[in-house]
Amino acid sequence: MLRIENLTKTYGKKKAVDHLSLHIRAGEIYGFIGHNGAGKTTTIKACCGILQFDQGEITVCGHSLRREPLACKRALAYIPDNPDLYEFMTGIDYLNFIGDIFRVPEEERRERIRLYADSLELKEDLGEKISAYSHGMKQKLAVISAFLHEPKLIIMDEPFVGLDPKASHTLKQMMREHCDRGGAIFFSTHVLEVAEKLCDQVAIIKKGKLVASGSMEEVRGQDSLEEVFLELEGEDA
């Protein structure tokens, strides 16, 4: 579903991501873990076509992001770490805008908005301007807009930040159902307990380099994910 090969991105002299390779298959929830500044957001943005990268190749559903960016973007949805949305629109305006851009048919769009807005308890607020939304409400709206066009791949950067416990639980369910339908999810998180419970696969990145990856069992072995993470973090400290 998503294949990252030798991805390298530099800012000036600093290598933010250094020859990173990952492979996310259909049906997988793939967690991406690392300390602040490790290169998670850079990797994620590069996968979504938001950030141009220096070396490597990214393919989404078999389409090269460099050569067929539109085909890749049609197949994926992105939820950023900070949901900066168009504050001049109402919630429903924004969802309709995304629906138009992704060419979601009228009837399907209405049904999905109803379903997801009900699940995340945002339906009554959809007529309000986004500028009046709280951080959590914006995050919920970003989640609904991502699921609205039924992408094959959803890429999320810290998706649980700002969500209340109930919404977090609903989102986890939505993620699992999406993967059960044959989709894939690639997301970054600092909450290792969430990653441990939710992810099928996990990758740990440190200073732009991949230091561990594989199934949850392979990566953590007999330890907890937190112990493995801290051990890897402290290796050259």
């Binding site: 943005k45 049609r74 992105y78 900066d84 138009d100 992704f102 009228e106 309000e128």
Partner: protein, 534 residues
């Protein structure tokens, strides 16, 4: 602490003026270019103001009405400062994005207020110099240089922002308070602005139309002012060197400011932290058909434009002027006939009337710069478009089409009025229809061009970004110049003066079409690449 706050504001201003983005420092050439541009703009305003005061200085001095001269200079400065600072007071004082951040820091609220007012004061001084500077220079050149009027005048110039700040902050507070209580804030602000603009234009018209009358009846007007509006007489006398009047004026200005500052100190924190909220709009499901991508992009632009008074009023004011011009022409059809009877530089206006009106239409078409800040305005939301399956070319086309579509109805009204009143030949009618639309399109493309060269995605104030960004300034200046160029070349330089107007303007129409073609080619390739790299 005050120094730190001022330094922060100063850095923010410099940053918004010179820096292309937060990571790249500007080159020397760019800095010099921007400074030259600012000097050029200032030069134009100073020249216009100077020529007016130059013609007034001697007649008023001969009549012994120097105080009236200084009063007019200070009044002009007052209105310039007020026009500039009312909306600035709202955005800088009550709706500044960093208000909450500053309030959360251990900084006294009174200091935040004071630092903001100090910034307004300095901005007002900049606005005021446009009127006071040339007025004092004209007086010095035409009459005399003497400390007896120079020192009091300069002192009054430095004190004048105090009543201006008082009025603009209180008006701004009223606007902001009303804005918080009404749901359709944009419409209310738009209405207020239209009233403000209407009043301002009415005053300007009366002032310019009445300038010869003012000089002719100056003694009578001065006598009336001295009797009926004595405080104004005192202000004028103070600037002319009357020390007692200077004392009264300074005291009055100081007291006005002290009263306003007192009110602001008490209400400032409450104003910026209160949120009365509105009754929640409960969402009701409605049928909505699917729009094509380009229409969806244009719809997004429309929602942004129509939800921001600052955007509409600054970047779209040409729409109002074009509609007003069209309606005026339809009501006062005799105005064209009266103009046709005049001659300019030996050229009968009747022969060139179509050309003049065509230039007027082009001028109106070039008065909007909606597209110029539109890329920067994507700001932190640029990720939405960049992660969506739309090409950079589609995004640019959406912005350009929105610019043209939103400006076109008012322009068509003005064009229709011109055609109705002028009844031109078929060829001229075609030019009157085509060239202004091409100029409108060219302005939209120029806006995108400059914005792609000088994007700013990390702005703090949206209104400041729209009004003061380099892309907006360059677009306005260049497109206004381009719209006037055909007329200037023909009437000023006598280029192709022997050609028929139809042939001459057809040449410019072809040039405008070629310009549009070339710019679109650039936007499609290099422009799209620049947008992708943002």
């Amino acid at each position: 602490m005050l120094k730190t706050l001022l330094r922060t504001y100063w850095r923010s201003m410099i940053h918004s003026l010179f820096f292309r983005d937060s990571r790249k420092a500007p080159g020397r050439l760019k800095k010099a270019g921007i400074l030259l541009l600012l000097l050029y703009v200032a030069g134009i305003f100073l020249f216009l103001s100077g020529s007016m005061f130059f013609s007034m200085a001697r007649p008023l001095n001969r009549l012994g009405l120097d105080w009236l001269y200084f009063l007019l200079a200070l009044a002009a400065a007052f209105f310039l400062m007020l026009t500039g600072s009312v909306f600035l007071a709202i955005t800088q004082l009550y709706e500044a994005r960093d208000n909450e951040l500053l309030l959360s820091l251990p900084i006294p609220a009174s200091l935040i207020l004071f630092s903001r007012l100090l910034l307004l004061y300095l901005t007002d001084l900049l606005y005021g110099i446009v009127a006071v500077g040339p007025a004092l220079a004209a007086y010095a050149l035409r009459i005399q240089v003497s400390p007896s009027w120079l020192i009091p005048s300069l002192l009054l110039y430095l004190l004048l922002p105090l009543p201006v700040i008082s009025v603009s902050c209180l008006l701004g507070a009223a606007f902001a308070a009303v804005g918080k209580r009404i749901r359709h804030k944009t419409a209310a602000v738009l209405l207020l602005w239209l009233l403000f603009l209407g009043g301002y234009l009415f005053l300007c018209r009366r002032l310019f139309a009445g300038l010869p009358d003012l000089l002719l009846h100056a003694p009578r007007i001065a006598g009336w002012l001295a009797r009926m509006l004595n405080p104004l007489y005192q202000i004028g006398s103070a600037a002319a060197g009357n020390l007692r009047a200077l004392g009264y004026t300074a005291l009055a200005f100081g007291l006005t400011f002290a009263a306003a500052y007192g009110i602001l100190t008490v209400t400032f924190v409450k104003m910026i932290t209160s949120n009365r909220g509105f009754r929640k709009i409960k969402y009701r499901e409605k049928r909505r058909k699917r729009y094509p991508v380009l229409l969806a992009l244009m719809g997004k632009e429309w929602k942004h434009f129509s939800s921001s008074p600052g955007y509409m009023l600054n970047a779209g004011c040409g729409i109002v002027f074009a509609a007003a011009a069209g309606i005026f022409l339809l009501i006062r059809q005799d105005a064209v006939a009266r103009l046709a009877g005049l001659s300019l530089g030996g050229v009968s206006l009747e022969e060139e009337m179509a050309g003049f009106l065509l230039t007027g239409l082009c001028f109106l078409a070039s008065f909007n710069f909606i597209s110029a800040p539109s890329i920067s305005l994507e700001g932190k939301c640029l990720w939405i478009l960049k992660s969506s399956p739309v090409t950079a070319r589609q995004i640019l086309a959406g912005k350009l089409l929105f610019h043209v579509t939103v400006c076109l109805p008012a322009l068509l009204l003005a064009q229709g009025a011109v055609l109705w009143v002028l009844r031109p030949s078929f060829a001229m009618a075609a030019l009157l229809l085509v060239l202004p639309v091409l100029v409108l399109t060219l302005t939209g493309m120029l806006g995108l061009f400059w914005n792609l060269l000088f994007p700013r995605l990390d702005f703090l104030s949206e209104t400041r970004m729209i009004k003061n960004s380099l892309s907006s300034t360059l677009t306005v200046l260049l497109s206004l110049l381009l719209s006037l160029l055909p007329m200037l070349a023909r009437q000023g330089l006598g280029l192709f003066a022997d050609w028929k107007p139809e042939g001459y303007y057809a040449l410019w129409t072809a040039a405008a079409a070629a310009g549009c073609g070339a710019l679109w080619r650039w936007l499609k390739k290099s422009g799209a690449r620049r947008l992708e790299a943002l």
